[in-house]
Symmetry: C2
Subunit: 335 residues, 2 copies
């Protein structure tokens, strides 16, 4: 298997990308070639620092970097020699099977869309973000922000893609699909989701549960939550933010006195265990589903561990032939 | 001051409503008359049980109750003698100055809109929900679900209403306004928010900070977060759900062994202090801003404490003449 890693994308690039690559190669034997795109000198320096030597690494030198302040489409059109563009080109040209980037999400979406194009029957790509869920362990939020102003057929296609992904990668026989809305009752929703509801209800063999609410994302027995990318992005970041706020209020309360501090220190393993279950680092990456290739978006502030897991998600997504199954399922639905 | 309480609305009605009324009358001397709408016999029975006798209480008997399964507009049009409709009528007819309901939110919005109408210059009412915020203590999310498919001018009006509310009720000199979007950068957003951005930027004397993201609701120094009701409802419930999920994962971790259980018991006051800061019971109610009267929505599962606080919010909203100030500010903006 051949993976391309945008080694200059991310808040802590290239350090964490290189460290994550080292962890991944040590653990995942199925990676045959790992392309690292970026400034060769910098990358070699970082690899030396980390005592990372592996014949499976192939550095592809390039001179530009997409900055967080760049506009997404402009970055892709103008910075043709960026670490992101070059990594996407490797997939486009068939030298790599998957692209992983922790850089500018909008640019990574744009590069993947422009260079890889969409699958047959899919109009738009969508970010599928795994979210911790107390009932099912994990719920896939799709779309977490690839595009906005979705039409009903986009939401329908997202449901199919999410369902196939959960089935193929996590072995869920019949993933439960919820349509994110402002109330559970049928008839709730905005114009677009009401129409999408009808499309989903009419779908063949889809385990469509109906409307779900914001709180269901983390707490209801669902595997896939479907929504527009504007809504999904706000919901995902809002959930992360609320969890963070609880954490910081808890921290304040637990450090308000010396006695509490001592007790809390004894409970550290328990507190860490709970925090770990909400931690994005373990899932590592969100696939951009619907593009003709595998493209994994990692969190901007990814640690080495998160990058390792993003590389794991990339290999698993390639291995499970999700794209072929998505095209097949879309064809079956529309036949 | 004269307040109408829908005594049959809420998951634990009429018990918690009556208990909350008792707490409120004991604490808030400014309430001169508290109308309780609902089945007189049931209400008298409940009052007797709670040893609640107060000459300021006036029961207004009615025969119907809006059920959670009723459709919102139908409930208001067909159940004219429901505890909700009768409470709204009391405000409409000037006998009461404010309405409080923990019942069917959609029906309470519809009843308030249909009976009270909107303020001059306001096209739609919006639910203003206080959300715990680590920087400002509280951020007002508006609209938390009164209407969907907002147009740019609705978002603009929501910003004005939220700003006036935070200024008048919480004494914030110049409330910081954020427009909820899928990225902070200017130019991020869907079609509607991009247009709203321009309107807000051009507003006179509004402390508009620009786009904010989901995580900012609980964590950024903002006082008002403006969004469409579909998005706001999902964001609010999503945040509550994430906080709940963290709580339940924490609970699991803290009860995984006897040793942990004992330590956690000693830390209970600290854990409770943190949980309390995320607890909706303390703010008690969300005003429906933009209607010609005061209408407070309480949480469906409101406790007596939550109901007391919803009644407090009602009296404070009446006292601060928010509506007159909103009309004034809208006129100033459009002159």
């Amino acid at each position: 298997m051949r993976i391309a890693l945008d080694a200059m994308g991310g808040d802590y690039a290239p350090r964490n990308m290189i460290a994550g690559a080292k962890l991944a190669l040590a653990e995942f034997g199925r990676i045959e070639t790992l392309f690292l795109t970026g400034d060769e000198e910098k990358l070699r320096h970082e690899m030396k620092e980390l005592q990372f030597h592996d014949p499976r690494v192939e550095i592809v030198h390039c001179t530009e970097v997409v900055e967080m302040t760049d506009s997404a489409v402009k970055a892709v059109r103008q910075k043709k020699d960026s670490s992101l563009s070059v990594a996407a080109d490797l997939v486009k040209n068939g030298r790599a099977q998957a692209l992983v980037s922790a850089g500018h999400t909008g640019a990574a979406v744009a590069a993947s869309m422009l260079k890889l194009r969409t699958l047959k029957g899919i109009d738009r790509a969508a970010i599928a973000s795994p979210v911790p869920n107390t009932q099912t362990g994990m719920c896939l939020l799709i779309d977490a922000g690839a595009s906005v102003d979705s039409r009903p057929q986009h939401l329908f296609q997202q449901a199919i893609m999410g369902s196939v992904y959960m089935k193929r990668l996590f072995g869920i026989e019949s993933p439960v699909i919820g349509l994110m809305s402002n109330g559970e009752e049928e008839g709730k929703g905005n114009e677009v989701t009401k129409e999408a509801f009808e499309l989903l209800r009419a779908a063949k063999g889809l385990n469509f549960k109906g409307n779900v609410e914001g709180r269901d994302l983390c707490n209801a027995p669902i595997h896939v939550a479907v929504c527009d990318g504007f809504v999904g992005n706000i919901l995902l970041k809002g959930s992360e933010g609320a969890a963070k706020a609880v954490g910081s209020m808890l921290k304040q309360a637990l450090t308000a006195s010396l006695g509490r501090k001592l007790l809390a220190a004894l409970l550290k393993p328990a507190l860490r265990a709970a925090a770990d279950r909400m931690n994005y680092e373990h899932h590592g990456g969100s696939p951009l589903l619907g593009v003709n290739g595998v493209s994994i978006m990692a969190h901007g502030s990814s640690s080495a561990l998160a990058m390792k897991n993003a590389l794991r998600v990339a290999t698993e997504t390639v291995q499970s032939s999700v794209n072929a199954h998505i095209e097949e399922e879309i064809a079956r639905q529309t036949s």
